[in-house]
């Protein structure tokens, strides 16, 4: 993991010290640390000369900018109509069993968080899930379990 100040400075160098650097900074922190802590939000606010409330308000607007603890691998199963019809409920059930968590929870070892999300642009190949940035389309319960087991072994 990278020091948060390093991420902030790297993004400021690329995007400037203006407000438009905020999203790239927050995205950079999530990419490196899975979620943004209060302390990190304060550092970002200070670096861009924004109020902490403003930075918090912006981060919480976006579902992918998590401000609550998340696992190293965030699993997002698509819940929207085409994937719903294709059987996303079974996928979630299978993953809940495999990971021994309920939807919305993080495993005790902080490795996985299991979430649902809206349409991810793979409706013709549903059910589909994202694990961090990786896409896994055309899932069956067996396939989903096998994929997650590979991550467990990592």
């Amino acid at each position: 993991m990278t020091d948060v100040n390093v991420i902030i400075n790297e993004k400021i160098e690329k995007f400037g010290k203006e407000r438009q650097a905020l999203m790239p900074i927050l995205q950079g922190i999530v990419a490196d640390k899975n979620y943004i802590t209060e302390d990190e939000l304060l550092k970002v606010a200070e670096a861009l000369d924004l109020s902490a409330a403003d930075v918090y308000g912006t981060a919480t607007f976006y579902t992918f900018l998590d401000v609550v603890p998340r696992g190293k691998y965030v699993i997002r199963v698509c819940k929207t109509i085409s994937c719903h019809m294709a059987g996303k409920d079974e996928i979630i059930e299978a993953l809940e069993k495999t990971l021994k968590v309920k939807l919305g929870e993080t495993t005790p070892d902080k490795k996985f968080t299991l979430l649902q999300a809206n349409c991810m642009g793979w409706c013709h190949k549903g059910p589909v899930m994202l694990i961090n940035d990786e896409v896994y389309p055309e899932l069956t319960s067996e396939k989903a379990i096998a994929i997650v087991e590979e991550y467990i072994a990592k």
Partner: protein, 388 residues
Amino acid sequence: MENKKLTKVDLIFENDGTCATTVLDKIKAMSQDDIIMEMIDSGLKGRGGAGFPTGLKWKFTKAENSFDKYIVCNADEGEPGTFKDREILDTVPSKVFAGMTIAGYAIGAKVGYLYLRAEYNFLLKKLNDKLDSFNATIKDKGFDFRIEIRSGAGAYICGEESALFESIEGKRGEPRNKPPYPTVSGLFGKPTVINNVETLVYATMIMKYGADNFKKMGTQDSRGSKVFSISGDTPNAGIYELELGMTVEDFVSDFGDGDTKAVQVGGASGLCVPRKKFADMIIGYEGVPTGGSMMLFNSSRSMYNVLKDYLEFFAEESCGQCTPCRVGCQQLLEGIEAVKRGEKHPSYLESLKKLAETMKLSAKCGLGQSVANPFVSIVDNFREEIIY
């Protein structure tokens, strides 16, 4: 798929490897006004859903007197049932970049942004690599233009143009009041052309083959072809580029499973067309418009579940900024649930329809305004399924 009725087209995914650079050479020899005239003449309308004539959008933005102007490519593709922009960006990215460059040259913009939804982060590295070489090509050819990519973070509303600008500016993705329109005051308050990924590729192809060839296809109101994202109860789910002007019946005869009872045209915010209306409903601006999302439902599906799914989607994705939408989406959802459970009389559906119509008039942006589309069309055509 065995093509029975519909005319398949191969413009968007045509990939000869040199198209983008050839087109840049070609437009270099044209004046800004010639390019805009050609775009207007083609009759191309925006492929992101709203269907505004692309040439006019460019013309208005060029007419603005401002040193800074921007091109934005909308790659937020969040409408349920839409997945064609992902495929376009994955397979023919340089044609997207070329479209942005053409638009940039035509209106006098020096910078273009491509706003990519976070769900497509897996494309980011590949796109950035392509872009490095493309930016170099643009420069070599003597254009004063460069393209950068910005990422979204999981918010459907950021596909709405003004919310997208807010997001690039580093703020909450809350839509702005209109007017002013983006052509006057868009990104960073400057005149901006924002176009969908597919629209920009069509711009590239219109510059390559000429407006005449494009407008030979389609109808008076819906010129050319369009990329469709087809999902649901169909043996042929996938991405297809088809000539515009077909009826829903033509469409169902090629893509249905023999038992299609309804087609949702235009995604969650679009219209539900029931079987009895298939024959005379044209897919296009003269009938049911679509940004490409086509979801088929067969008789095994409960339309109550479909509507409930859409309303949950809107209730979650509403930015919450204005009351009609923030409260309205939840009330519609709770309302149909109450009718289903028998806690409310079926006539309550009439009050809910009025609420949806009120949202159409009073909501601040297209999200809240379009909830009435699925709501009224599903409730009117599948009333029994909603109640019992």
